[in-house]
Structures are given as structure tokens and as C-alpha cells.
């Protein structure tokens, strides 16, 4: 079994899907000879040719809309948007069309497409390269939103996304692309698109996160473990539809919950998780739900981004408040 980092796992899943299904095409800016600015599509052009590995003009709205047309005509387009900050121009197509084509035509046409993009801050990149737009996408009816946080999950979830008959927005944590390797069997096995992952079991406290923040959250759980606190760590992974049951079951056990996201706080996906707890989870709650989030500010440039991001100390402080609450 090869040891892959996250971006290699994405690459492997793309190659696998293209090999197994001739309808799969990959398109986006610089995905061809350049292999993608993060090298997620490297080698695909050579293997599958320029008709299926499509360098597009610099037109994000067109790329998203074109994928909708391809999907309706029977292809399985997998779009790469170069950075999440450039995906805003696709929102019109995603909101007004991708999520609606099946409903609008009452099942006559459908839109099996995937839109991948690197997300998140702390890669010391220029302006607009550090966005976390998951809450916006999760608000869109008719689509799925997925955010892997490990090489193996990236591989299995991306295969599932490509095989899914409906549009999937696939948010890749750029910060984790090359952070570590793990064994990933290239077995073509998809993961479920509606199940959260319990990464660590515990009974004292529930830590919920997704994407790059899972990494930070696991580190916080390690620190807590050293203090004898057993934190359950949940990687939401499939943000839409949200697996409320796994989160509720955990909080039923722990009574305390910290939700971590690097997106701006207001109307973030952390708010959605907290809202579920304020509703269906209320009886379980022994302490206020802590949201550890990006500030309601513009993600700052590199010199300050560490002061914007949730980090282990902030997660720990929230965890301690939740644990101390009586």
C-alpha cells in the first residue's frame, strides 16, 4: 500500500475514477501540462489526453456552468477551482443551476459534477488564497458538501463524490496537502457521503471540526488526554447533508461540545452544528456550546494569519471552559 499525502491521494482518486469511468473528465485552470498549481492533477494529461484533462480559459463562472452542461449531457466532470477565493464567481451557477437542475426538470436532467478546490488559511499565500466558504455552499439546496481531512478520507470521499449522481462541492484543506503521509489502498472503494467520522472516542467532551481544523483539534485532544480528559473528536467530513446523529450521540454521552472552524464566526458551519445542539441536543447539554472560529474579519495576510486562526490554545481554553461549567 503506498503512503500518500493528501494531495497525492486526491491525484490517485482522480486517476482511478478516470480509469474506471470514461465519462469522467477533469477541467480547470492549469490542470493539464502544469498538473494543477498544487499538482493535484499531475500525470493525468499524459495518461488520459487533453480532451479529458481540460485546461480552461480563465473563467470560473464558465467552468462551473460548463460542467453543468457536460453533466447533463452524460459526462462526469470534475472541476478544479484554483483557490476557494476564486469560487465566488461560480456561486451563481451552483446556486441557480447545479443544485436545481434535477428538481427543475423533475428528474429529466441531472448534474453529476464535482467541484474541487483548495481551502483555508495558513499556507502563507497571497490575498484571497485563504478562504473557507463551506457555510455558503452548505446553505445551497440540492448539492452535497464534503471536506476531507486525511489522505485516506480524501481518496474515498472523492471517489464517492465523483460516483454520486448529484453535484458535490469538494473542499480540500490546502494546509494539509503535504503535511503527512499515510497508507492509502488504491482499491477504488468509496466512503459514505453522509457519515461523520469519530476519530477518537471519549466521554468527557466532544470536539467537532472538519478540514484543516481537524488536525488542530486532534492536537488539542492530545493535550487534553495528557491532562486525563478524554475528548471525543468528530470529523464532520460530509457537511451537507450533515450527520446530526453522530454528533448528537456523542454529546448525549459527553454533555459538552466545542465546534471548531477557521471560517468567520457569523453564519459559519459551526453555527449550524451549535443550532442542532440548541434544538435536538439541548437536553444533553451540560455546558454552553463553544464555537472556536475565525474572527468576523477578513482573513489577514500571512504576517497575521496565525492570530486569526483557531489554534490549540484557543481550542484548549474553550474545552476547559466547557469542562469547568457547572
Amino acid at each position: 500500500m503506498p503512503a500518500l499525502n493528501l494531495v497525492e491521494a486526491v491525484n490517485r482518486a482522480l486517476a482511478r475514477a478516470m480509469e474506471d469511468d470514461p465519462r469522467v473528465v477533469v477541467l480547470g485552470e492549469d490542470v493539464g501540462v502544469n498538473g494543477g498549481v498544487f499538482r493535484a492533477t499531475v500525470g493525468l494529461l499524459e495518461r488520459f489526453g487533453p480532451e479529458r484533462v481540460v485546461d480552461t480559459p480563465l473563467s470560473e463562472a464558465l467552468i462551473a456552468g460548463m460542467a453543468i452542461g457536460m453533466a447533463a449531457e452524460g459526462l462526469r466532470p470534475v472541476v478544479e477551482i484554483q483557490f476557494a477565493g476564486f469560487a465566488y464567481a461560480t456561486l451563481d451557477q451552483i446556486l441557480n443551476h447545479a443544485g436545481r437542475l434535477r428538481h427543475r426538470t423533475q428528474g429529466r436532467l441531472s448534474c453529476p459534477m464535482v467541484m474541487r478546490m483548495p481551502c483555508g488559511a495558513c499556507i502563507r499565500a497571497p490575498e484571497h488564497h485563504s478562504e473557507s466558504p463551506e457555510a455558503i455552499f452548505a446553505h445551497v439546496p440540492g448539492i452535497r458538501v464534503v471536506a476531507p481531512s486525511s489522505p485516506a478520507r480524501a481518496y474515498g470521499l472523492l471517489l464517492a463524490a465523483i460516483a454520486d449522481p448529484d453535484p458535490v462541492v469538494f473542499l480540500e484543506p490546502a494546509r494539509l496537502y503535504r503535511l503527512w503521509r499515510e497508507e492509502v489502498a488504491d482499491d477504488g472503494a468509496p466512503l459514505a457521503l453522509d457519515r461523520a467520522f469519530v476519530l477518537r472516542e471519549g466521554s468527557d467532551l466532544t470536539l467537532v471540526s472538519w478540514g484543516a481544523m481537524v488536525y488542530e483539534t486532534l492536537s488539542a485532544a492530545d493535550a487534553l488526554a495528557r491532562e486525563g480528559v478524554r475528548a471525543e473528536v468528530i470529523d464532520v467530513a460530509t457537511l451537507k447533508p450533515l450527520d446530526e446523529e453522530t454528533i448528537l450521540a456523542s454529546v448525549a454521552k459527553t454533555g459538552r461540545c466545542v465546534v471548531v472552524t477557521e471560517a468567520p464566526r457569523t453564519c459559519s458551519f459551526a453555527s449550524e452544528v451549535a443550532a442542532v445542539l440548541a434544538g435536538r441536543g439541548l437536553t444533553s447539554l451540560l455546558a454552553p456550546v463553544e464555537r472556536v472560529t475565525g474572527w468576523d474579519t477578513v482573513t489577514p495576510l500571512a504576517r497575521l494569519e496565525a492570530r486569526y486562526m483557531p489554534d490549540v490554545p484557543r481550542i484548549l481554553a474553550a474545552a476547559r471552559r466547557a469542562l469547568a461549567y457547572r
Binding site: 479529458r52 460548463m66 452542461g69 447533463a72 449522481p165 450527520d243
Partner: protein
């Protein structure tokens, strides 16, 4: 200083405003009877349009976008489309869809506020009506790309208004079509208005056809009130597309003889004189005059056709009005291929089968 590129925009018209041939006609029009089906379709479009407006005015339909004045475009395109081509309409192409076999009551259902109006069993690969201006052109690029990828001899025909040419989506699509030399024809229905915005204030470009020059693709301007010219120009463009010779932008000049929609009052922003002038150039009378002058159409034919069209419009209205109301489950039925478990309670609640319980 040297000149590094030169361009020109050509205009095609065969019939003058009174239906007289301005010169030799294209091959397909040598026998005038070949144009009778187009004429019949145009008259039917007008009857269905009138019926839709009547339904709206009597509170039995929602806001409706009239097709009055663009019948030659719809009929001309309908005549040259092949079954396997793909049509991507705006919201104003019901005429084309009728010629694709779509039952008229579906169009009434759409404007009546029912998603079943976009189900076209007769023409299953055509796209649904599209309201967000110019967004369908990106879809058309994807469709055309898929066609080219599979090496099929088909084409995509997408429609957009004069207003749509100001949207970025329009340009992104044309450019991409040029880059990949796609089997795509984009037809701009220049009806001189985008709601209240007159064509001359929508853009400083002398023609809309020339917008293709930005994308390096072929363009043509055509008299959109001349069914023969439309059929000729669009027919050749589609043939080129199917043959792998690349995309074309066609600007069809016409005039929106109606209000923008039934929710609009065009008298707020244009004069009665202008409208009266436009009526002189309208397409139905023009083609009828030409057919009649060439012995292919009689007064009796006209009377019979009027009767037939009235009956078909009536039947469409009946089919529409008798369609049972949608059940709430329709909101969820085709939201996803299979409704995710997480949303099942919402479906149950919407259908009155369960309560919405925050502690469910």
C-alpha cells in the same frame, strides 16, 4: 502603425417588409410550399401566446413572457434543428420548443408555477427554460464539449437576448467555444429591449453580432423577422457546427411587440409610434404575403389554420387547467437522486405526515 487584423459583419435578408423577395432565394425556398410548415407553426405560436396572456389576465396563470414578434426566429430555427441537437432556451423560446415536440400545455404549466412544465418527454435532452440571464450559455459550452468529445455529429443551439450580451457569461461562453472550436450556435434575439433598456443604451457596439469578434469566432447578422433568412443563416451555422467547423454567433434583428412580461407596462418607456412602426415589419404577415404571392397560401387556408390553431390553444389550456395540482412531495422528489436520510423528516413534515419536532 500597421493594421494587424480586419473584420466585417454581414447581414442577411431575403424578404422585404412586405414579403417581396429582394433577390435570389436560398435553395430550400425554391418551392414556396416548403415554407408552409414554418408559417403554420408561426401562426400557432401566436395563438398559444394569446391564450397564455388570456390565462394570465384572468388570474389562471402567473407572470408570462410573450413571444409576440419573434415567431420567424423560432420557426426558422425549429426548421433546421435535428432531433439529436440540443436546444438551450432562455425563457422566451417556447416557439422553438413547440417545434421540438414539446406539448404546449407544458409551457403553460411552467408559467403557471409548476416544475412539471420543464419536463419535455418529446425532447428529453433539451434544456429547461432559463431565467438567470445568459447563464445557459455556459451550459451550452458544456453540452457542445461533450458532443465534440464523443465525436458526435450534433450541435447545441443556445438562445439569449440583446440584454444578455452585456453579461460576462455571454462572453466567457463565446470565448470558450472559440478555444475548443465547439459545435455551438448562439442565437441572440435582438428584440431591441431588455425590459425598459433600449438596445442602443445596452452597448455602444454597432451590432451585437460583432461581439463574436472578441472571441475570434464567426458571426452573422440576420433579419429576424424574415423566416427564410433565419432558416438560411442558422441552418448553415448549425451545419458548420455539426461538421466540426466551429461555433457561430447569430444576431437576429426583431422587435418585442409585447410588454416584457405580463408584469411589465412597456408604455412607460416606449412610444406608441415606435411600436406601430415595428408592427409594419412583423414576421407573420410578411411570410404570409410571400406565400400568397407565390401561390402557396390562400384565404381559405388562412381561415382553416386560424380555426385549427384556436382549437389547439384551447386544448392546451384545458390540459393545463386540468393538470392536478402538485403534491408537496414534489419539492423533495427530485431534489437529489435519492433523498438523503437527513432530509426525510422535512419531507414528512411538508407532506403533513409528521410534526417538525426540534427534539425528534
Amino acid at each position: 502603425m500597421s493594421v494587424v487584423a480586419r473584420f466585417e459583419v454581414r447581414y442577411t435578408q431575403y424578404l422585404d417588409e412586405r414579403g417581396r423577395a429582394l433577390g435570389p432565394l436560398p435553395e430550400f425556398a425554391r418551392d414556396p410550399r416548403a415554407l408552409v410548415p414554418a408559417y403554420r407553426a408561426m401562426v400557432l405560436m401566436r395563438a398559444l401566446d394569446a391564450k397564455a396572456i388570456a390565462l394570465q389576465r384572468t388570474g389562471r396563470m402567473g407572470t408570462y413572457a410573450s413571444t409576440l414578434g419573434k415567431e420567424a426566429i423560432d420557426a426558422g430555427c425549429g426548421a433546421v434543428l435535428e432531433k439529436d441537437d440540443v436546444v438551450l432556451p432562455s425563457y422566451r423560446e417556447s416557439g422553438v420548443l413547440f417545434l421540438r415536440g414539446v406539448a404546449p400545455h407544458r409551457v403553460f404549466l411552467y408559467w403557471g408555477g409548476d416544475e412539471r412544465g420543464n419536463v419535455f418527454p418529446e425532447s428529453p435532452r433539451d434544456f429547461p427554460f432559463c431565467v438567470p440571464i445568459a447563464t445557459q450559455l455556459a451550459h451550452a459550452v458544456g453540452v457542445a464539449y461533450a458532443i465534440r468529445l464523443r465525436g458526435e455529429r450534433r450541435a447545441a443551439l443556445a438562445f439569449a437576448g440583446d440584454g444578455a450580451t452585456s453579461k460576462g457569461d455571454f462572453h466567457e461562453a463565446l470565448n470558450a467555444a472559440g478555444v475548443w472550436c465547439l459545435p455551438l450556435v448562439v442565437l441572440v434575439v435582438n428584440n431591441q429591449y431588455a425590459i425598459s433598456m433600449p438596445r442602443r443604451r445596452q452597448t455602444a457596439a454597432e451590432t451585437l453580432a460583432q461581439k463574436a469578434i472578441a472571441a475570434g469566432i464567426a458571426c452573422e447578422q440576420v433579419d429576424g423577422n424574415d423566416a427564410i433568412a433565419v432558416r438560411d443563416v442558422v441552418g448553415r451555422a448549425l451545419a458548420r457546427a455539426r461538421a466540426g467547423d466551429g461555433p457561430t454567433l447569430v444576431e437576429a434583428l426583431t422587435y418585442r411587440l409585447s410588454d416584457h412580461t405580463t408584469a411589465d407596462d412597456a408604455s412607460r418607456y416606449r412610444s406608441a409610434e415606435e411600436l406601430a412602426e415595428a408592427w409594419k415589419r412583423e414576421p407573420v404577415a410578411r411570410l404570409r404575403a410571400w406565400l400568397a404571392a407565390n401561390g402557396a397560401w390562400t384565404k381559405e387556408d388562412e381561415v382553416a389554420l386560424e380555426r385549427e390553431c384556436a382549437a389547439r390553444a384551447e386544448a392546451a389550456a384545458k390540459a393545463y387547467l386540468e393538470t392536478p395540482p402538485p403534491d408537496p412531495e414534489q419539492m423533495f422528489r427530485h431534489l437529489y437522486a435519492q433523498l438523503p436520510a437527513a432530509y426525510r423528516w422535512q419531507r414528512a413534515a411538508a407532506c403533513g405526515e409528521a410534526t417538525e419536532d426540534a427534539c425528534a
